[in-house]
């Protein structure tokens, strides 16, 4: 089936099988491998991307469902060499250890701050439910999200 989608601002058209998952579309068809496949069962959130500005788990969505949508992946956050404020805050607060969950954490955070611009620590912990860090680096991740919210004010 022919789908048209905007990925990180660029229009794309591809013929895809209906069973192609959005995460495979992003990684294997469009060629953006920043988005990771972790659990592949919609538990871990490593594959989180934005579809029309909202965070979704791209391992549990079909590419054909995203036809006509705007998709944003981690590659679409920075403006040239300039970090997105959320990336800058993660960098500054050392909000990653191995980094496998980071792309998903960043995308989930962008969506969270869009919905709750001034989150409490509890809002952040609830909002990042379903994004798992196996290094258990949550403390610094929460610090980074608080700082990112502050920097956007």
């Amino acid at each position: 089936m022919r789908i048209e989608a905007t990925v990180n601002g660029k229009p794309h058209q591809h013929d895809v099988e209906p069973r192609l998952l959005l995460v495979q579309y992003v990684r294997e068809v469009v060629g953006l491998t920043g988005t990771k496949i972790g659990c592949d069962t919609s538990s871990c959130g490593a594959c989180t991307v934005l579809v029309d500005g909202e965070s979704v788990k791209s391992c549990t969505m079909l590419a054909v469902q995203a036809d006509g949508s705007e998709i944003t992946t981690v590659e679409g956050l920075a403006a040239g060499d300039e970090f997105h404020p959320v990336q800058a805050a993660f960098h500054e607060h050392h909000a990653l250890q191995c980094g496998f969950c980071t792309a998903g954490m960043l995308m989930a955070t962008v969506s969270l701050l869009d919905e709750i611009p001034n989150p409490t620590e509890r809002d952040i912990r609830l909002g990042l439910e379903g994004n798992l860090c196996r290094c258990t680096g949550y403390h610094n991740i929460v610090e980074a999200v608080l700082a990112a919210a502050e920097s956007r004010r």
Binding site: P18, L21, T41, G45, V64, A108, L126, G127, G130, N131
Partner: protein, 273 residues
């Protein structure tokens, strides 16, 4: 994991969806948000030949004041329920329980109708709808019919929906100021409930259980004891009556019965507070 191959059909209206179901019968499956169906397809526990995508049928995404009751479109996403102002005033329990489904990413995609039609006794919303005495509006080739929630859930992943029928609306009572509580016991924040208990207090008290049998269940023994003047702690002792809790890696049936009693007591106390 990749689903088995299927044909994909994007419905533009309820009529198109019903026509597709009528043509393809059991071979077809409706896709709403996909938060329950796609995982089953990836595990190849579900292998529909044709997927009828309702994602673009926007006419069934709404929360409306319908006079006697509130009408909720079946394709309303959990995210839209948890942020809905009319629900905050008129049925805060539905808003609160929608916010307990999965995680924020899941709630951006998942719909109330998808959760109901899936018929999973471990889901959060069906038990609440049982406690609210909701009514479901269903559309098929012959037109529309309504099904009371008590007659809707038939067994594990089995509902009153015929293969050619589409759930279009969920009707819930207006309960401004009603006390309620949903107690969910889980291992990780975004997991299914190992057991859940919901209590809605509006004059009388209704109690329903998540994951204590093949369907969501009303805790009728508890309700009866409360009506006879029992305290929450006394009434909660009857929480497991008439249940058939499953045993799995997370809990034995005995432990689920224990959880049922504890969570019902907590829900009753919180709903009265």
């Amino acid at each position: 994991m990749i689903p088995a191959a299927f044909d994909y059909l994007r419905a533009r209206s309820a009529e198109e969806a019903v026509a597709a179901l009528r043509e393809h019968g059991d071979d077809a499956k409706l896709l709403a948000g996909g938060m329950s169906l796609l995982p089953l397809m990836k595990l190849r526990l579900a292998t529909p030949a044709i997927l009828v995508d309702l994602g673009r049928v926007r006419e069934f995404s709404y929360v409306r004041d319908a006079g006697e009751h509130l009408a909720v479109g079946a394709l309303t996403r959990h995210r839209d329920l948890e942020t809905n102002e009319l629900l905050a005033d008129q049925c805060a329990a539905l808003r609160a329980v929608a916010a307990e489904v999965g995680d924020s990413k899941v709630r951006h995609r998942g719909t109330i109708g998808g959760s109901v039609a899936h018929g999973d006794p471990a889901s959060d919303l069906p038990a609440l709808l049982l406690a609210l005495d909701a009514t479901f509006v269903v559309r098929g080739p012959g037109g529309e019919r309504t099904v009371p929630v008590r007659e809707f859930f038939h067994g594990f992943l089995e509902t009153a929906l015929e293969p050619d029928e589409l759930l279009t609306e969920i009707q819930v009572p207006k309960l401004p100021g009603a006390g309620f509580s949903y107690q969910k016991f889980q291992r990780r924040a975004q997991d299914w409930a190992i057991v859940g208990a919901t209590a809605v207090r509006n004059g009388g008290t209704r109690v329903a259980l998540v994951n204590m049998g093949g369907t969501p269940l009303r805790a009728t023994g508890v309700e009866e004891s409360l009506a006879q003047g029992a305290s929450p702690a006394e009434a909660a002792q009857r929480a497991a009556e008439g249940t058939e809790p499953p045993g799995d890696l997370n809990a034995t049936p005995d432990y689920r019965e224990h959880l049922g009693r504890v969570l019902v007591r907590r829900a009753l106390e919180a709903a009265s507070a």
